[in-house]
Amino acid sequence: MVKHLKLLLLFFVVALITGGMLLVKITQKEPVIPASVASNPTFPVTTQAAPQTTAMEAPDGSHTLTLKEEKGKSATTYTVLISTSNDPTQKQIFTKTLEEGSSISLPFNTFSPDDKYVFLKETTKSGISYIVLNSQGTPLTKENSVINFSDLFAAKYPDYKITEATGWASPTLIIINTDKLDGTQGPSFWFEIPSQSFLILSNRFN
């Protein structure tokens, strides 16, 4: 009888401690996040009107890429220029004229980590495509001054379409996210610039 009472007492003590611990955990406050902090992110992109320009700084602050947009009657000319923090003189590295309804933009992570390459996003009526070029404007290969890796990808992986090139996994690897043609999520890839090849990844890079 005494043994049972001891057991019962022990049970109550343990139950009390456990309950107390759970209560403390349940009543713990979540971090208070001010409303101004919790709003969606917007990042600094310098823009100016007439002709409209957009500027993107390299992650180390050593270079600035500027996209100049000059509207014509039925087409817009896009010019990409680069400057350094030591020399603000802008050097043209790329230009293209697109018909109305199409555009070129600078992705936030446009610069490769070593600032050797930049990639650009082109949006047309038929979809998006990406091009990569040397940041100094020199030809990327013997045959091509720039590489449209969306075209290379479409030829190699017809069952997937690129949804976004998010940035750089290393100085020569561009991260690409894809969808399958039925609209479901596809895998992520790396596009390696020197070999112009794609590497399919087991992890999705969201």
Binding site: M21, K25, F43, F205
Partner: protein, 229 residues
Amino acid sequence: MTLKPAKLHLISFVFIIALVAGFAYNILFPKQPFCANSISCTESTKLKVENNEIGIFNGQKVVPPKIDLTQKEEPSKVLGDKTLQGEKHIYVDLTHQTLTAYQGDTLVLKAPISSGKWAPTPPGEYTIWVKLRATRMTGGQGADFYDLPNVPYTMFFSGPNASAGAGFSLHGAYWHNNFGHSMSHGCVNMREVDAKVIYDWADPPTTGYTTNVDSTHPGTKITIYGKAP
């Protein structure tokens, strides 16, 4: 040999108690992460400048930025050098992969970050306990192995969800440019330009290449919240 019913009751009873207590302990004291940098671990929390080393990340060689400790660096100008008042607080939003820094009600910086991809960045309340101009971080294994000298503007933080020895920090990252997307082994990666702004602004005030907190100079608070995509 047979057990008496009383003994059976006792064994079952002890087993159930152990189970419940273990469950409660796990809820109350969630398992702390191991070191953010699994190989260098606490070694990473010391100043280290190695200008002639080559880094490795994602199986590729990367050239770290040169750091000249003999040159005096100009501190970043925060909001045009206006004298700011109020408590400093850094918020890291894992869901949107952003960092916002406030002093009082004034926004000092809003910038994209890269939180843990190969290992999670633990949400919670933290404070900076040491700032280093640079250090070396090594960890991972196989294809995920990384060895990164001269990790710039490193601010180690600690709190209930990650001790100082766990080696979690805010720091600049020169080896990738995928900010706004998870890309780290648990730390909070920032563009070098953004990391410098936070490093120069955050407490304790920078006094050298290694700045520890003390009783009169506590570290800036950091709140990490949300869930990485």
